[in-house]
């Protein structure tokens, strides 16, 4: 079997990434559609092609870019033990969130992941004052994800791609339920997102703080409309 080489260190990091980016991570991601429920009910998104276009545009110009870029900043701050920066970026992200509903989503998922981090990684943990501040002020998912990825010694490019891919997987699953689409169509859609996912990864690894910006009108309006939507399956 000499053709197969493996490094137990890299494989260990890969295993932890697969766990962190998995839809089975118990943070409740499946209960959020980030406005897709409204867009489907309005008839704006009605096909796999519509959904692909929406998600690839999010990756090119949308709020997910800022979110993922801040995840990286949390990763770096935890890696270098710059705890004050973790708090600063968490506040920044809470203030930058498009709507109240999206802010609640990211806080709920962040709280769940932060608890998971504390309960599974007691030895490596974050300083208690930081954890207190994050719990008091509500921790964004991107902040907790970055902290977890740094603690688990996943590389920055891999953590970034994992974050983006798990976001895409969740919204494709939401679309599969809402439109509805077949499971195979959903998998094809995910494959077709590989190119925008890789492009976003490449862009965001070197994004300057002054370029943390996005076009958010489509997402904001959909999410604001979802806040008042009468009948809802999803929490965002």
């Amino acid at each position: 079997m000499s053709n197969f080489q493996s490094s137990s260190q890299a494989d260990g990091a890969l295993l932890r990434l697969l766990q962190l980016a998995s839809p089975a991570l118990p943070v409740g991601a499946y209960s959020y559609s980030e406005g897709l429920e409204t867009l489907v009910s309005q008839g704006v998104i009605g096909t796999a092609a519509d959904l692909e276009q929406w998600l690839s545009q999010e990756l090119r110009w949308g709020a997910i870019r800022v979110d993922a870029a801040v995840m990286l900043r949390s990763f770096e701050a935890v890696r270098t033990q710059n705890w004050a920066q973790v708090t600063d970026w968490n506040r920044w992200l809470s203030a930058a969130r498009e709507t109240e509903e999206l802010r609640s989503q990211h806080w709920q998922m962040g709280r769940s992941l932060l608890h998971l981090l504390l309960e599974t990684q007691a030895a490596v943990s974050l300083p208690p004052t930081l954890v207190q501040t994050l719990e008091l002020e509500s921790c964004n998912y991107a902040i907790a994800f970055g902290a977890m990825a740094a603690t688990w010694e996943i590389t920055a490019p891999a953590a970034l791609l994992g974050y983006l891919q798990s976001w895409a997987t969740n919204l494709v699953n939401a679309g599969v339920k809402l439109i509805p689409l077949g499971q195979t169509v959903g998998q094809q859609l995910l494959l077709s997102l590989h190119s925008p996912l890789l492009q976003a990864q490449a862009d965001l690894l070197h994004l300057a703080d002054s370029d943390l910006e996005s076009w958010s009108w489509g997402l904001s309006l959909a999410s604001m409309a979802h806040e008042t939507q009468y009948s809802r399956l999803f929490r965002s």
Binding site: L39, V44, I45, Q53, W54, Q57, E58, W61, G62, V66, R91, W92, S94, A95, A96, E98, T99, E100, E101, R103, L212, E213, S214, W215, S216, W217, G218, L219, S220, L221, S223, M224, A225, E227, T228
Partner: protein, 284 residues
């Protein structure tokens, strides 16, 4: 326009420094400084309650690549000011250099600023960047709107290329209350797609920041929306951590103005106990 002379050095570097303070019960504008093409009209006091109204003027007609405008506004504690502009702002197309407007605002304790400029028309191929940074002392409130037309839609122009970047940040001490960093890169796709402009050239935001808002109040604001017959505009209202945010995406300046003025009226009557007072420059 001096910038039409061609040389980059002919670009405008406009400046405006405005300081407001309270004398007796009346907010006064103290020794304003203006450098062309920016000017400020003599302030006036059309309403009871001590609010000082001021009107900004851009005397060159519009901005071209290379122009840089810088505006500093300071409100002393307890002062109340309303700022608007004399006419729509225009940002012309550019071959590459960026036009920029940098606005810094500080509101002292319990000060209130109503920042209500007329719309900005961003021509196709424009390169424009605006940064607006507001710092609030305790008790201070910001009520501001921004209405932007992307492409001269009246003549069928779409924002097919160019960049509009608008970074608005409102801080209280070292805490960010609202960060809104928008960027639209013009393209066929962004003009058409529901994620982008959805063929609506006009976007507007109204933010009221500095105090907590109840869900009931947000609901009341939503009921102020009355679209024009046949309008395809979309709107939304949401709560900020300390305030509220209204968004509009549509086509009609009058429609968004009507809604934003109704929201402004609602905030003034319910929370500040007074009616709105339309600046006379709007009444032409």
């Amino acid at each position: 326009m001096s910038a039409a002379n061609g040389a980059a050095s002919a670009s405008w570097q406009g400046k405006l420094h405005l300081n407001y303070g309270v004398t007796g019960d009346q907010t006064r504008l103290r020794a304003p400084f203006a450098q062309a093409p920016l000017k400020i009209q003599r302030p006036f006091y059309p309403e009871a309650g001590g609010v000082c109204h001021s009107i900004l003027l851009h005397t060159a007609g519009g901005m071209v690549g290379g122009d840089r405008l810088s505006i500093d506004v300071n409100l002393a504690p307890e002062s109340k000011a309303l700022l608007t502009s004399a006419a729509a702002a225009k940002i012309y197309g550019s071959i590459g250099t960026e036009a920029s407007q940098n606005i810094q605002i500080h509101l002292g304790a319990n000060a209130r600023l109503e920042w209500l400029p007329q719309e900005t028309i961003v021509f196709n191929q424009a390169q424009f960047r605006q940064t607006l940074r507001v710092t609030l002392d305790p008790g201070a409130q910001w009520l501001g709107w921004d209405i932007v037309r992307l492409g001269r839609s009246a003549r069928g122009e779409e924002f097919q290329s160019g960049n509009w970047r608008s970074h608005t940040e409102i801080w209280q001490g070292n805490r960010p209350l609202w960060i809104d960093r928008q960027r639209l890169s013009g393209s066929t796709e962004t003009v058409a797609s529901p994620h982008g402009l959805a063929h609506s050239a006009l976007v507007g935001s109204l933010a009221w920041v500095g105090m907590a808002v109840t869900p009931d109040f947000v609901e009341a604001i939503r009921t102020q929306w009355h679209p024009d017959p046949g309008s395809s505009a979309e709107i939304g209202v949401t709560r900020l951590q300390q305030g509220l945010l209204c968004r509009y995406r549509g086509c009609s300046t009058l429609e968004v103005q009507r809604w934003f003025r109704a929201v402004w009226q609602q905030i003034r009557t319910e929370c500040w106990g007074r009616d709105i007072c339309l600046p006379r420059v709007w009444q032409r």
